[in-house]
Each structure stands twice: as C-alpha cells, then as structure tokens.
Symmetry: C2
C-alpha cells in the first residue's frame, strides 16, 4: 500500500544526478497537477544567484506548476553562462512535465562560483519527472541537502470546516551562511488548501518575519529562496482572508518557525540552540535589534559553547545594538535563573546555577530592558570549534 | 646609566597590586610634571564602564596631570559602587601625586561585572606613584595587558625645526572584543610636543579614524578608551595647526595605525593578519562598509584560517554590506593573484596560487567594485579554533 500523500495535489522527487562528488541525491522536483497559486521571497544579498533572478521574475505572475532544484552547486557568480544554465534547467523540466516553461521555478544551492554541470542535470531531468510521486517528499528533502546533518520538515493543519482540514507542509535545507533577511536558505512550503494568489503572497510576506529571527553565523547566502504553492486539492472556497485566512497564516507561521528552529539546531558545528527573548524595549524593532545583536556576538556565542554564564558579554552586546537603553535597568536571566539585576551581577551562586542550565542543549536567555513595551526574539546557536574546522577546510 | 626617557615630560609605572589572580602586574600610572593638554575618545557602546564616564567628564577640561589604570577587572556593570571605586582610584592617586583629583583620569580593563578590589588598589597607589620613572614605559605597558600575548608600542617623530623633533609615543592593550567605533581598547599616546588643547582634541578626533579600521571579532568593549597627552617638554611654540599641525597629525596617525595593526596581530587565537582594501566604491563610506563587512564575515574569517581562496564567500559578504554594487563588475585579488574577475572565478590555477599567498602570515585582499572612486580599508585577523577555545573557557 502506498503512503498517504505528503500534500494532496503535489508530487515530489529526489534523485542522484551526479552533481555532488559524494554520490548523494542532488536533483529534486516539486510539481503540481496544474498551474497553482504560488508566492516566494528571496535573498536580500546584492549578489544573487542566476536561479534567484529567474524565479523572482517568473513567480511575479502568482502562478507556478513546478520547482526544479539542484544541490551541490549554487549557480552563483557564474555570469551569463549561469543565466543560460538556470533557464535550461527550467526549459527541460517543463518539456518533461509538458507545461509552459514560464511556470517552472528554479533553485540551486551549494558551492559558489563554479559552473553548473548542466549536461548531467538535463540528462537526468526525464528520470526526475518520471520519479515524482505523491509520497516522494522524503526523497525530495534529501536531495536538497548540502552540509545539513538531518532533514528538516514541518507540518501544520488548517481547519477549514467541521470535518475538513488542509495541510501546510514545509521542507528546508540550511546549516551555514544563515542570517535570513526576508527569506533564508531553501525552503519549500506546499498546502492543499485553495488560496487566492494575492492572499498567498500577502500571507508569505508577513509570516516570513518569523524566519528572519534566526541566525547561525550572520552570513546571508546568495541563493536564499522560500517558495509557497497552494494546490487547492482540499476543494475549499479559495481563502482570501477572514477567519480562514488567519487560520492559514497561523499554520504557515507555525511551519516556518518550526523549520527555522530545525535549521539552527543543524547549525554548522552547533551544540546548543538558544532563544533570546528581549522584553521592555522602546519598540518591537529595538527589541529585535537587541536580540539579534546578542545572537550575533562571537563572544556570547563562544560563552554559550562553553556554558559560561558570562552576562557581561551579553550586556556589552546589548550596548552595541545601537538602541537607546539604560544599563542600570537591565535584567538578564538564563533559563529560570536571574544572573544580572539592574545592570549588576546577582552573584556566584546564581552563576553556578545558570551554568547548569547552559549545559542543556536548548534554553532561553531572557533580557528585560525596562524601557517600554517592545518585545523581540532571536534563535541562534553557539560558535564552536567544529564550526571553525568545518569552514576552514581548504576545498581543493 | 638610566635609559633615555620614553617621552620627555612624562613618567610611567607598572606594578603588581594583586588584582589579577595570575601574579602579573596590574596597576599602571602615567604622570606629567604639571597639568598638560589632554584629549580622549571613548567607547560608543551604550553600556559604559564607570571609569569611562568619569574620565570623559574630567578630560572635557582639556587638561590632565595623570592617568591611573588597572587591568584584571573592567569595573563595568558594577553599579553605584563602581562609580565610587573609580572616584577612589583617582582620589588616592591625586593624593599621592599631590595634585587636584579633577586632573586625574582613570581607566580599567578586564572582566566585566565583578566589583573592583579597591582596597588593594588604594593600598598599592603610594608604591605606584613612587615607582614612576621617565623610562618606566615597559613596566606600564605590561601592567595594562589582559589576554594580550605581546606588548604593543609605537613611536613616530614630529619635525619641529632643523634640529628639533618631538616624539609621539603610543602604547595599547587589546586582543579580543575588538571592533572599535571611535575608540578602542585602552590606548595611551603621549607627546613631548607643545600642542594647544583645542588642536590636540581636533587632531585626535580626526586621526582616530585609522583606529576604527580594525577588528578581531566585531564586539566592542564597555571600556574602550584612547588618551592623548602633550607635555610640551620639547619647548616648541604650541602647535595650533599649519605645517607643524599636519606633521603632528601625521605622526599621530602613524602611531595609531601601527598600534591598531599590533592589536589585530595579537587578536585572540589569530594566525593571519589580513588587510582588506576596497577600491571603486561610490563613496569612501561605502568602501569602508564593504571592507568592514568582509572583515566581519565568519565564513571569510574561517576561510582565511584555512588558507582557502573561497572568493564566493567574499562576494557574498560584499552583497551583504548594504551598499549599491554591480556583482558582474567585481574583481577580487589575494596578494598579487587575481582570483575573481567581473564577478566570476578566474580558475583553478589562480586559486592554487592564491592558496600559496594565504599561507603567509600577512597579506592583502583587494576588491575593486568598478563603480566609483571611493576607497576604504579594514585590517582583520582570522577566526580560529583557538579563538573559540580561548573564549569558551568557563571562568569559574
């Protein structure tokens, strides 16, 4: 008996095309039964890969039939040839599917600055399309991975009526070069709900915020893309807002938050996942800046690695956020342990207890600025010896 | 026979007061023969140590007699007690010197958030003042060190007439938490030139720019201070601008650039010092932003550690600088080897040659944006396994 479909209305595939040297799957496809509402957000890096430019142009129509993705090569900084290669990926996928190539989106991830082995991709494409199955999500997820240690998937349900629920299914890849700004890494979210083109775009643009609250190393990639497609297989009246719209957005947010946390947990070399919560800022934007600055500080991140409750580094990072604060009002807690009150240390016993909290794999650092009602958060991981080793390897 | 004076008109001392657990010198003094012109710049971090607040207030007069410095404890995030302790340091130093306490500046460096062992400092102060000698600069330099592996000193000469030259002598400490913004770490510069109060301040404010072009880890400390005092022992007509002013500024700039480079070379765990030069930006400010962003990228810094000519990471960092660029115009060279031309890789042979350059301890990464005439630079070091180990040590 076949497994149940991952998301009704979509088929998925992942195969080995020979792009990676490691003999791991590296070509993936997501295809709907017809052209369906689609939305996407892309990297804010000024250096953008060829597939990002192509997909951004095509998704502006609000419709898509399929996405073809390769891993092992980012097709970034590859000049005019890179543009041709991205177009060719879309062209041959459309030919094998039997659809308009303008409805095929393209994504790539991997090493920057090497020409794509396009012949291998073109050759493998008919096999890829033939492999697409309703229960092929696992193959798909594996084929988009690069330095990822584990697969990242998330599911949320959208109540549509007393007996009907639509699904929101997301998969992502990403472990390094993570500091999303509007979008991150490669993320693919599908839903079987019927959603209007314009509401789908709006929902994505607003809910992607939760994805911007994560970082591994503060670097943003040239290829970050987040795609969302709605098959309508649930046969509901297309969602355009209202209660159903809220329920859909909540499910989307849940999936994105879940995938973001999975990406941080898979952060290159990471041994701890820490959520930084900032309360009492003048505004939410200020709170976000403070949370992000703490999460980006190499000194804080190495202290997290060493389970060192070095709250002085946290205060120094807060002071560097470029936000109005009153140092003598700041409280800091690690897990349930307050270690800094009114800008001063609570004492050795509290630090010892905080050290115990920090030995856990996952915990919260809570900062209260006592300056207003703005709240923000950021999810980050530690900076470890393995992060440095992993990224210092000379490639050739 | 005594050594020649380090900088006529000044005496220096460095002794062991028992602040550090390591039995290393930790209390230092710099004292002029009378109140002399003085200027200073301080950390832009919003969380500022008590001695920073005190010294900033006092140096506003443009005059100072002495600076007392302790290492091993930053007296930061120490509340009202920290303010009292900083005042006490100045008070007892003034008493031992026999001067107005308003003319004594105070600086501290070391761990954040622990109360200063003020009794030990007060007790040691008469001994410190008695130890001050014209050739005591070496003792002074050692007593301000924390995680520094070596002493940082620099000298430049100011031609004042056919036979007379004044000296500009600088010493600094710093190895981690380095990303200066108007000032950095602790830096003490003395000159025997006579310089007017207002010109001294102006010269410092403009020439400190060269100090802002360095980073180790992108964190800025709560205690960064840079002090400049002019004894006038050279007996020249006080410099207020003109040719002599230019010569003085040039000497000051030279000393600051030299000290900055020494701090990066002593960067925590650093094995490479890299100067990033950016040409062809729309403006100098844009060029500086790009250079700083490259120098701050963990992925670029780990590639430097691994001698990996991974120019794709450099392009990704440029794209993240928030500056208008045309990716297809960017050239990147490592040392004398061009590895990226027009936004695309030059090839494997060039990368191999660049890898050889990167095995040197010190080299230049040159980026040309071909978008204007703006130029900028940044001096940074690599992100190494030792940086992480050094900063992940649990303190207690």
């Amino acid at each position: 008996m076949a497994n149940p479909p991952a998301c009704p209305g979509f088929k998925f595939a992942g195969i080995l095309a020979g792009i990676k040297a490691t003999q791991r799957p590296d070509l993936a496809l997501l295809v709907a039964e017809a052209d369906v509402p689609a939305a996407a957000v892309f990297t804010q890096n000024r250096v953008r890969a060829a597939p990002v430019e192509l997909s951004e142009k095509r998704v502006a129509s609000g419709l898509a039939r399929a996405i073809i993705i390769n891993s092992g090569n980012a097709n970034a900084c590859t000049g005019p040839r890179g543009v041709e290669d991205a177009q060719a990926m879309g062209h041959y996928a459309a030919k094998a599917i039997g659809c308009d190539e303008k409805r095929v989106l393209v994504a790539s991830t991997g090493v920057i600055g090497q020409p794509l082995p396009i012949e291998r991709i073109v050759e493998a494409t008919p096999r890829l399309v033939a492999a697409a199955r309703a229960d092929g999500l696992e193959d798909f997820t594996r084929a988009i991975m690069t330095t990822d240690r584990f697969e990242k998937r998330a599911l949320a349900l959208v109540p549509l009526g007393p007996k009907t629920r639509a699904r929101v299914v997301g998969v992502a890849k990403g472990a390094g070069m993570i500091a999303p700004n509007m979008a991150t890494t490669l993320v693919f979210v599908t839903t079987d709900a019927a959603v209007s083109k314009s509401f789908l775009r709006k929902a994505l643009q607003e809910e992607v915020e939760v994805f911007n609250q994560i970082s591994v190393d503060g670097d943003t990639s040239t290829n970050d893309s987040l795609f969302l497609m709605a098959s309508g297989a649930a046969k509901n009246k297309p969602i355009e807002g209202g209660d159903k719209g809220l329920a859909f957005r909540q499910a989307l947010r849940e999936v994105l938050a879940d995938l973001g946390r999975q990406i941080v947990r898979d952060g290159e070399g990471a041994t701890h996942v820490v959520t930084i919560e900032v309360l009492g800022a003048v505004s939410a934007a200020d709170a976000d800046r403070v949370a992000r600055r703490i999460g980006a500080s190499p000194l804080v991140k190495t202290a997290i690695f060493g389970a060192d409750p070095n709250w002085g580094r946290i205060l120094a990072a807060i002071g560097n956020a470029g936000v109005e604060i009153v140092p003598s009002k700041i409280d800091v807690a690690i897990g349930e342990i307050e270690i800094c009150r009114g800008g001063m240390g609570v004492g050795g016993q509290a630090e010892h207890a905080a050290h115990e909290v920090m030995r856990r794999g996952e915990y919260i650092i809570r900062v209260h600025l006592h300056g207003g009602r703005g709240e923000g958060r950021h999810v980050t991981c530690d900076l470890t010896v393995d992060y440095v080793k992993l990224n210092a390897d000379y490639r050739s």
